[in-house]
């Protein structure tokens, strides 16, 4: 097959070269993730950083609730109301979603068996696939009249509506990640506790939950990140009016929704256009930190394991 002389130790054949070429190609693919994230950073900074450096008053941005970029004589760029809008909707969503998704994760992961478990898992997975614009539509046309009737308020597009919608959206994802975290706890932990006569709930509460703690925290963090970044559903269900919310029946406007609603009406390069990119930089930074935190928490598990 090959000459038996020792001399060919050095001879590289075509398959050697093919392998090297493929390695180079997949390496390009490999770093594409880095290029994309850098690209996002570079391109939104390019459009927005000049504005941050020259025009915007950082103090006003974070402390003023007045977002009036279209004002003729005195445009103001206070994002506080938008931040409050995003925070209130996300906060309510988490209040709704965290207990339910952790409960569901525990039921699916620790109590359900066989077919039931498979069916529930598939259902949760399907829920996670419903597009956000459909959720927004549900908020707009189904939740809205329900809230008006139920609470006797004039407008049903508010923190409550957007929060519940966002909660329903985030819950399947949080459930899936939390269930993964529970599954990562080795079975012999459970078996050891059960051998001592502990019930399933005692095993779950005393053994599994503490062991899965980090994964559950990460699940919640990723849910928060998802809530912060959600656009269409919040745009359609929150009422989209600039407001520091006093109650869950106030309409609010979110950071993401502001970009989505206004970008189409701005001229490229205008102050308003740049201000929207500034919001984008802010969102990017926040979600980056949240994802980084979730990753660090998750890495914590692996180190302990």
């Amino acid at each position: 097959m090959e000459a038996s002389a020792a001399g060919d130790f050095d001879r590289r054949n075509s398959s050697w070269y093919v392998d090297k070429v493929v390695q180079a190609l997949v390496f390009i693919g490999g770093i594409s993730g880095i290029l994309c994230i850098l690209g996002i950073f570079v391109f939104i900074s390019k459009e927005g950083f000049g504005f941050i450096a020259n025009t915007i008053d950082i103090k006003e941005f974070f402390t003023s609730p007045n977002w009036r970029p279209t004002s003729e004589e005195n445009p103001t760029y206070g994002a506080l109301a938008l931040i409050a809008g995003t925070a209130s909707v996300t906060g309510l969503a988490m209040v709704v979603a965290v207990p339910f998704s952790l409960g569901a994760a525990i039921y699916i992961g620790e109590f359900a068996r066989g077919k039931t478990r498979e069916v529930l898992k598939v259902l949760v997975e399907m829920l996670a696939a419903i597009p956000s614009v459909v959720w927004g539509f549900i908020g707009l046309s189904i939740m809205n009249p329900v809230i008006i009737d139920l609470f006797d308020v004039p407008v049903g597009l508010n923190v409550l509506n957007a929060g519940v919608i966002l909660g329903l959206m985030a819950a399947p994802i949080m459930t899936t990640i939390a269930e993964d975290a529970l599954k990562a706890v080795p079975d012999h932990y459970r078996e050891a506790a059960e051998a001592m006569g502990a019930t399933r709930w005692q095993v779950t509460f005393r053994v599994v939950l503490p062991a899965a703690k980090n994964g559950l925290v990460a699940a919640v963090l990723l849910g928060v990140g998802r809530g912060f970044g959600e656009t269409m559903a919040v745009l359609m269900a929150s009422g989209h009016s600039i407001n520091m919310p006093d109650s869950i029946f106030d309409s609010v406007r979110a950071l993401t929704a502001t970009i989505a609603a206004e970008l189409g009406e701005t001229a490229v390069g205008s102050d308003h256009y740049q201000a929207l990119f500034t919001l984008g930089i802010f969102l990017f930074a926040i979600t980056f930190v949240i994802n980084l935190a979730a990753d660090l928490v998750l890495r914590g598990i692996r180190k302990e394991a």
Binding site: E2, S4, A6, F9, N13, S15
Partner: protein, 268 residues
């Protein structure tokens, strides 16, 4: 212990006139800070069956891995010292794939690839560029016959190799190693997953293959080493205790008491 002048040649050193196929010099292997083999040196001659015996965790498998540079794929595995194959340090082979093609390996746990039985055996010749169907057919049949598997599978060469029984998969693995037409065949406890009758058949095959290639046989069945090996090395806890002509080892004519204890089964 060497008592007979005439035996010195077949003791640890090589026979006169035989070509040295593989030469190991001061070889040490470690994983992280755990050393599994330290300071091993010996030669393996062309056309001999070289046995390596020793209890579990004595560094036998790691030794085999170092020979065909599988350490390239195991990040934490470090190899020091020299391994000369055909007189050439294996680390200096720039085309490591050509090196591995000349060294066939059979590991203890059989691995039937999830390809057809035919492709399992034809894969290696195909990879080296052979496309002629008749040549491939002929290679597949010859290698399967030699591995004592042909009769069992000749009517279902299209079925998946990975779904054969353990013993059949191990013979398939051997057939695959033979299809490379290796110069050096490494066998690591090949009989673990094989029934005794098949083991004997494969052993007969190995005796024949000796005419064509050099074989290193790692085994924890000392009697298997006795049946097959020309010379045998005894590894213990990461050290080479000694290399001796197999008959000497089994008749007690050895220098180190631990070797005798081991082959006589007086070892924990």
């Amino acid at each position: 212990m060497v008592t007979d002048e005439g035996r010195t040649a077949v003791d640890g050193s090589t026979r006169d006139g035989a070509e040295v196929k593989l030469s190991v010099r001061d070889l040490s292997i470690s994983y992280g800070d755990k050393t599994v083999l330290s300071g091993v040196s010996f030669d393996v001659e062309e056309h001999e069956i070289f046995g390596i015996i020793g209890p579990a965790n004595s560094g036998k498998t790691s030794f085999l891995r170092a020979l065909n540079r599988m350490d390239d794929f195991i990040p934490e595995m470090q190899v020091e010292g020299e391994v000369l194959f055909n007189g050439m340090e294996v680390r200096r082979w720039r085309n490591v794939y050509a090196l591995r093609r000349r060294i066939g390996v059979v590991f203890p746990l059989p691995v039937g690839l999830p390809l057809s039985i035919y492709d399992n055996v034809a894969l290696s010749p195909q990879l080296s560029g052979i496309k002629d169907k008749t040549v491939l057919d002929e290679t597949v049949e010859r290698c399967l016959r030699r591995a004592a598997l042909w009769d069992e599978v000749k009517d279902r060469l299209d079925s998946l190799g990975s779904l054969l029984s353990g013993g059949q998969q191990q013979r398939l693995t051997i057939a695959r190693a033979l299809s490379q037409e290796p110069e050096l065949l490494l066998l690591d406890e090949f009989s673990i997953a094989v029934d005794p009758v098949t083991t004997m058949r494969i052993e007969d095959v190995l005796k024949e293959l000796k005419q064509e290639m050099t074989i290193i046989l790692v085994t924890n069945l000392v009697q298997q080493a006795r049946r097959l090996a020309d010379r045998t090395a005894f590894f213990l806890s990461g050290e080479l205790v000694e290399v001796a002509a197999t008959e000497d080892l089994f008749t007690g004519q050895v220098q180190d008491a631990r070797s005798r204890d081991y082959v006589e089964g007086r070892f924990g």
